[in-house]
């Protein structure tokens, strides 16, 4: 972790040096690691995001504090939410709704409550906050309009239970008056893919500056080889599984010879 931190700070300082003052307030951020590798001992990890709000001579002096939002967003998915109902006395999945283009992971850290950060339009536009993710319905739906909101709420609740969606107001820590950092825990069940790390600097409901960086979550080593084999050469993978099974069975019969 120390090594990553040092790297991150170095990268961050380099970023500071090259940052051009286009806007009045400039936001510079860096991630502790832009590659999260999943190995066989993976049980989740933390990433650290650093940043600084830099002001220059053009900056108007503002009253009050800045608001910061950091969002880590996973690759898009299409997800079906189902609701059970009684059918002939048995509980079965009866109603469903499919949401398209929802992030596989969404973790938000902010300095204030999401609803206090800005107008609904602004939050919707930048997908800030779980209630401002655009949960678009794909294809057909068997749900009456009046119950659609129940499905959205259930979807968000289940994803939060899985640890894949989170909203943590107050999770950004200011180290100095302009430097900040936050920890984003990545649970063990995070999907692989390319993640976006977005930072927003707001002041009294208006967006001053934003940054976006990429982060990769990938299986490495044995996990990657196994997964790729299963996806790309499924016949070979299946035969290999059978071979291992027969070999184990044979080995057992040799070791524990009974008759």
């Amino acid at each position: 972790m120390i090594r990553y931190l040092a790297l991150a700070i170095a990268a961050f300082l380099a970023g500071l040096a090259s940052a051009k003052a286009v806007h009045a307030e400039e936001l510079v951020t860096a991630i502790s690691s832009d590659l999260v590798s999943i190995r066989s001992n993976f049980t989740g990890t933390d990433i650290v995001i650093f940043g600084q709000v830099s002001r220059d001579v053009n900056s108007i002096s503002r009253s009050g504090d800045y608001d910061l939002v950091i969002v880590v967003e996973g690759p898009p998915q299409e997800i079906t939410t189902r609701r059970k109902g009684r059918f002939l006395g048995v509980w079965v999945n009866r109603y469903y709704e499919t949401f398209e283009n929802v992030p596989a992971f969404y973790a938000l850290a902010s300095t204030a409550k999401v609803s206090d950060l800005g107008s609904r339009e602004l939050l919707d536009e930048y997908r800030i906050g779980l209630n401002h993710l655009n949960l678009a319905i794909a294809r057909r739906s068997s749900v009456p309009l009046s119950e659609r909101d129940d499905f959205r709420q259930a979807f968000l609740r289940l994803r939060q239970q899985q640890g894949l969606f989170s909203e943590r107001p107050g999770a950004i820590e200011f180290l100095t008056s302009t430097m900040f950092r936050t920890n984003v825990p990545l649970p063990a069940n995070i999907p692989v893919g390319t993640y976006k790390v977005k930072s927003f600097l707001l002041h009294q409901g208006s967006l001053l500056s934003k940054t976006e960086a990429k982060m990769h979550v990938a299986k490495t080593g044995f996990e990657q080889v196994t997964y790729n084999l299963a996806q790309k050469m499924p016949v070979a993978y299946g035969l290999l599984a059978v071979f291992f099974a027969i070999f184990t069975g044979w080995l057992a019969s040799v070791i524990f010879k009974r008759d």
């Binding site: 048995v90 063990a188 027969i246 069975g249």
Partner: protein, 319 residues
């Protein structure tokens, strides 16, 4: 390497296909416990292992597909010992197998379809309730009768070789020398097909259905029944593993290996203990076990679920 990494024992193992970390000792223990029971009762144990994995949080699709691989391992070691004793009717096994492979092909197709419809869990639960309930009930009834007969000292009616039932009237007859049978291939293919189909959809070997069917319906001599059934299961489940790997990519080789190693070790202890118990007592215990698993599924279907909602990834990362 950092100090905390050294201090932490390797307990959690990340499964590459299921995409979740599991406690390796828990999985190993499950494999061992089910292996023990399978050695004790002479069953594959798939019908116990699949629900255990599902209840412990492994996705149902991965559980079913991976257990087919585990069944291959446990039946392979048993087949070898029956082979040595020449207790396998290969001709009969191959005919069952032809049915079995076609059955599991249809099974994989249905599995895929049900998964996309979101009804896979329901079908798995309903099938478990139906089959385990029926088989468990029949076994319980039969074993209690056997124990009572033994206690009262009544004579057990032996199988008469000349006994016929409706199955012996079917056409396309074939001779099976080792089993001393001359029967139609239709019931054999159908039996293989049904068990291959169920095995693939439910992640079970089907030995606990195959053995009674061969004995009571086809009147195969008990000396070759278990070996033949295991041989057939070995090949049906091997093909089911490959079919699952191709169509749904849900076979987790790491999970399968952990289960197998636990399973084959457990089976040895189970088999040793099984030799000290009477056949009818064993069947009574097995019947109670089968019924208990069936009841567990029935309760889940009938009680109001804690959460009515569930989510499933259709496409994109992690689907």
């Amino acid at each position: 390497m950092r100090c905390d990494e050294l201090r932490q024992p390797i307990v959690q193992l990340y499964l590459p296909i299921a995409e979740i970390p599991v406690n390796i000792f828990v999985i190993f223990g499950m494999g061992g416990a089910v292996g023990f029971l399978s050695g004790l009762f002479g069953i594959g144990g798939g019908f116990l292992l699949t629900p255990l994995l599902i209840f412990s949080g492994i996705p149902p699709a991965v559980s079913v597909a991976t257990v087919t691989t585990q069944v291959v391992a446990s039946s392979a070691s048993a087949v070898i010992s029956y082979w040595r004793r020449r207790a396998i009717d290969f001709k009969l096994a191959i005919m069952l197998l032809v049915g079995g492979v076609s059955g599991s092909t249809v099974g994989v197709m249905l599995f895929d379809l049900l998964q996309s419809l979101g009804q896979l869990d329901l079908v798995i639960s309903l099938s478990y309730v139906t089959f385990l309930g029926t088989i468990g009930g029949l076994m319980l009834f039969e074993s209690i009768r056997a124990i009572r007969r033994r206690k009262t000292g009544a004579k057990v009616t032996a199988r008469r070789p000349g006994q016929h039932n409706w199955i012996h009237g079917l056409p396309f007859k074939m001779r099976f020398r080792q089993s001393k049978l001359y029967v139609s291939v239709i019931p054999i293919l159908a039996l293989g097909g049904i068990i291959g189909f169920l095995g693939t959809v439910l992640g079970i070997g089907g030995g606990f259905m195959m053995v009674p069917a061969l004995i009571y319906l086809l009147r195969v001599p008990t000396s070759v029944v278990i070996g033949t059934s295991l041989f057939q299961i070995l090949f049906t489940m091997s093909s089911a593993t490959v079919l699952h790997a191709v169509s749904t990519q849900t076979v987790d080789i790491v999970l399968a290996l952990t289960l197998m190693i636990g399973g084959v070790i457990g089976a040895q202890f189970g088999a040793r203990m099984g030799q000290n118990l009477r056949g009818d007592q064993l069947r009574l215990l097995l019947a109670l076990l089968v019924l208990a698993v069936g009841m567990r599924f029935a309760v889940d279907l009938l009680l109001t679920p804690e959460d009515l909602y569930s989510i499933a990834i259709v496409t994109g990362a992690g689907s």
